[in-house]
Symmetry: D2
Subunit: 357 residues, 4 copies
């Protein structure tokens, strides 16, 4: 239950303040050039402590490959990657040892397992997503070799939405904003929340370009279903939409259908997916992140003895978890697409016979 994917499968391990975290990525085809610098650069995009818009916890997030690569190439065997935790201030957490922080998984983990690694949320911490980014980087290397690319950026912070989607600009924005015109207002909202010991929600937008027609295994491993699982499973995500998403529910069929021409679809309300299968158009998603539950205002809560108390959190936290979350969305999307590419092989006898002739 700590694994994701069918043919390209990754399994992660590790807690926020344990020895290390990491993953095993299984199913990478042999012969892929494994560019370690690229993997590290992807981790650097996600790593904390890069600016005032993020948590002050500094982690090098240095990734080491333990297996599966020989002379620079994947060998078809599992690629294990490990990231040692370095900047753990476990003492920060001694005051929450018996307290359930509102909006956190403390309460549910404690009741499910009867035991809880309270240091930084343990396994439920978003710190685990570093492992997803490491795995996602290798998925991207696979995709790149087939001219498929995955992009992302912030399309809203609080109530300030991006009105244009410039993925190149997002790459250079410290908050990965898709809209240079909205960026400063978005930054302002984050800092305001931070200064008020509060946090704010946001929306990540993901774009996949170049995916061929045919990805997705209906009816219960559909491309949109699996993407929804992948995105909803990221810490703090509360909604996912494909293409027009929520808006399509108030549209008419004549507005929402994408008409077809011999050179492709005339519009892309569908977000690149029909019947759970990619249609060759851009795949587009929006991923809605709630505000970081870790705030420094006093809140009502209880402890493990069911005693009520008023509690104000201390520590270091992201004021807007959506920012670094964009990189995680991108990684998960890349892993899903790479898995679907492998699964799609053998969908018809033509492909099978060509492969084995």
């Amino acid at each position: 239950m700590n694994s994701f994917g069918q043919k390209l499968k990754f399994s992660t391990f590790g807690e926020s303040h344990g020895t290390a975290l990491g993953c095993i990525l299984d199913g990478v085809p042999a012969g892929l050039k494994i560019d370690e610098e690229y993997i590290q650069s992807e981790l650097d995009r996600r790593k904390p402590g890069k600016s005032e818009f993020e948590t002050a916890r500094k982690e090098a997030d240095k990734v080491e490959i333990l297996s599966g690569v020989f002379e620079g190439l994947s060998t078809g065997t599992p690629i294990a990657m490990v990231i040692y935790n370095t900047n753990q201030k476990s003492k920060d957490y001694s005051n929450i040892k018996d307290v359930f922080r509102p909006g956190h998984a403390d309460f549910t983990y404690f009741h499910k397992y009867g035991i809880r690694d309270y240091r930084g949320g343990g396994r439920s911490s978003a710190r685990e997503t570093a492992a997803r980014v490491a795995a996602g980087a290798i998925a991207k290397l696979m995709l790149n070799s087939l001219n498929i690319s995955v992009h992302s950026g912030i399309s809203a912070v609080g109530e300030v939405a991006s009105e244009s989607y410039d993925y190149e600009s997002a790459k250079n924005s410290i908050i990965y904003s898709l809209d240079p015109h909205a960026e400063s207002a978005q930054k302002e909202i984050i800092l305001k929340a931070k200064n008020e010991h509060d946090s704010v929600g946001g929306v990540a937008r993901v774009l996949i370009k170049g995916a061929p027609v045919g990805l997705g295994q209906p009816l219960y491993y559909k491309l949109d279903g699996v993407l929804a699982d992948a995105m909803m499973g990221i810490n703090a995500v509360k909604a996912v939409e494909i293409g027009d998403g929520v808006l399509s529910a108030s549209a008419l069929g004549s507005q929402n259908n994408d008409e077809i021409r011999s050179d492709g679809f005339e519009s892309n309300h569908a977000g690149g997916i029909l019947g759970g299968i990619s249609n060759g158009e851009d795949i587009v998603m929006n991923v809605y992140f709630k505000p970081t539950p870790s705030i420094f205002k006093e809140q009502h809560t209880i402890n493990t003895r069911n005693e009520e108390l008023d509690f104000a959190l201390k520590g270091r936290h992201d004021p807007c978890v959506a920012i670094r979350g964009t990189v995680v969305c991108e990684s998960m999307a890349a892993l899903v697409i790479a898995d679907m590419l492998l699964l799609n092989m053998g969908s018809n006898m033509d492909g099978l016979q060509r492969y084995y002739k």
Copy 2:
């Protein structure tokens, strides 16, 4: 890839206009009273042709149990159920044999598989969801025995949203509307779309009551992630939100966190799920359906030879697929919760030792 669930797993088969459709439901604990009338009553809620708000295709949707039940009780072996198709007018579809209907899966199935059962969309037809409802009915029987219940209704049709959520009222509404005050306006929109040879989108809302704390297997079989997959995988769904969902992305942490008291949570912005695990509160979701792609207006499209044409569909279709979709959402939700109940057993040594002592 036509199976869903881990410990309670169902696998479906069947096409819109094939001989039969059905499912195998595997993992039902032995000793559950299988109430066949109840299963049929659930299918009756979903079956087409009940009113002017639905497709005119009439199907008895009579379910037969082929295995797994002995003397009225489940035996722990797979329960196979079959529904024979009776009212197939395959001729209706001869004119779309080579045409890709806009908004449909025709295009993607054809390119993925190289062959397409064009009669009524074949496998991609929402007709398959009858099998989900049959399986879901048995899941509900399991849940009922543990005092867990699943409810649903329409919270919006087009732009007319329900302002209250009365699940009892929805049960008696022909369009499953959650808000008696909005119902007639919602009906009007549907009929207007229908009369204009068009269709309209809608939103289903799902409520799960009585689920214990602890359901969900983090980090990659989270309750919210799996629900998102289950809902997004339903035909025509384009967005899923848990709890406040989209709205939480524009909220502050201090607004969005659910504070805790000794007798429970003070609010339920989270929709009953924290860290991918149920927290004992009501589980709440909204599921956004696009308008039925099958409309009778002329649209641009192409055929399998990539020739452009203007095409107006004929046949019998739901003007608002969300209506009957609510029942499917409910069924899928029940299946997910039942699966999670089984998976959660053995989460800690206490439970394991109690079970085997």
Copy 3:
């Protein structure tokens, strides 16, 4: 847990004396010609009542395809097949309702599930293997299109071993004997056991010809491991060996290694598998069946109230379950190889890039 396979997956349902049994075969590539007569002919090879060497129960074992085939070709969607039970004499079993037959699964099913369909063993009956043969027939059609073939026969009945392996001769032998010289002695043993109200064990041998190098997904979906699971899971099987099997454990390395020449291996002690991956040679297995536990001699046993009794079974049973078991071995082997062919696609980047270019 009633499913087998990863990419080509089948799920079976049905009990010995229920309404019907059958399966869903998922993952068949689209465009495969589905020869229904061939499928039926495979079922006919397994069906009971063909001779005095088999149970007297007569079943037509007529298979119907419910889905997944359109105009004679597979569509890539699940192929459901159903076989209705016709010759059920459930009354035969009323006397065993509360009795645990020695050597049978009665005892274990009752204790695991708390309820037992006692009619003919219910789910634990070898009757379920008809569904495997139906699925296996389609797998064979896939294999045939790639020039891979699966063969089987009886290599021993009781202590009479076949000394040569003539698979063509086995096809024409009423007991599927691989050795025309041993056949009459083997028949004699079966009839002797039968006449003495007893039963006798036997060994099936399976040969797979034409499998390409590279099948098998190490380290935990190895070709030999999965074949071992597939064979051991057949009713009454108690041992499985690959290639020289048991004998290799008493050999020296210099005897057991297969030396290699530019045109292939000089011997085949390995049975065509090295490191869990096919090496291009013939794949060879022996599958050991215990004697049918259903005998008509009086035996000590207990009933569900833990009362001791002496019990002599009545009814209709195979005196040597290995005979018809050979067909099941063959079917399971075909399903495993077909699954491995699909899984092997995408093992390296070359194959991936060729597929998607």
Copy 4:
């Protein structure tokens, strides 16, 4: 495909001469006391270089736990364990860079993946089994808490079979021999083979005591089927038998059936498994290992350019891989039983309702 188990699942990584090997063990119930010394002691039983009967390669096989354990207890999250390779003499292997060693996986890996980590066999090396032993040790801790124990020993080396099975004695034997009277003859055979630059096969016997009735998930995750897969998947294993195994195929039903009395079975030909489900008796298996393919005699082979050559291996190898293999069998058996214990929960409504009441 590098994972094993359903509810208790482990995934391994690592090559013989890579940086490290290890595993993630997922699904361990929270609250299990993780005795690190015990885990290390299990690894010490398997580690190489302990005597003249084993390879001279010395590895500390020091295991480190990276996650999933907090204050000495499992937390319900994945337990990652890593073992760094220390005594790699990769240069030993430069001469086999382009050569396919007879009896090895070199040939099949090269053809499947198109690339091969030739150092010590890379992923196909039995060195990977250290990870299984680490995971198995934790499974044993789980089993011990339920009074289930797993034992093993050598029941034959070459043609010298053990005539008695003394598992306590095996624990103290340097070659894990089950029969103190056969031990010296068994040792002699090993040394003779070694001195002649050859190797010899052997048989491991596994005994599981205390397993409750009801383990095994028929029909396609049967206890015997999964054990067969688990054992056959161990390096060099070519045959697996449950209970009387091969012998039962030449027996009569009246000999082979285990009659039942109110206090249990009168015999145990079945080896503790009926219908794929444990029956409460001892579970007994024999696992047949071929002789180590690594021998120092000259053999015919080819290289990657398909050129023939005569080749004599150099390096350090076990003369009888079955010896250390016994520990691996034991570990895999423990993992299977622990998985089955978890899967069996929820087999019937009684258990479900007791759990959730």
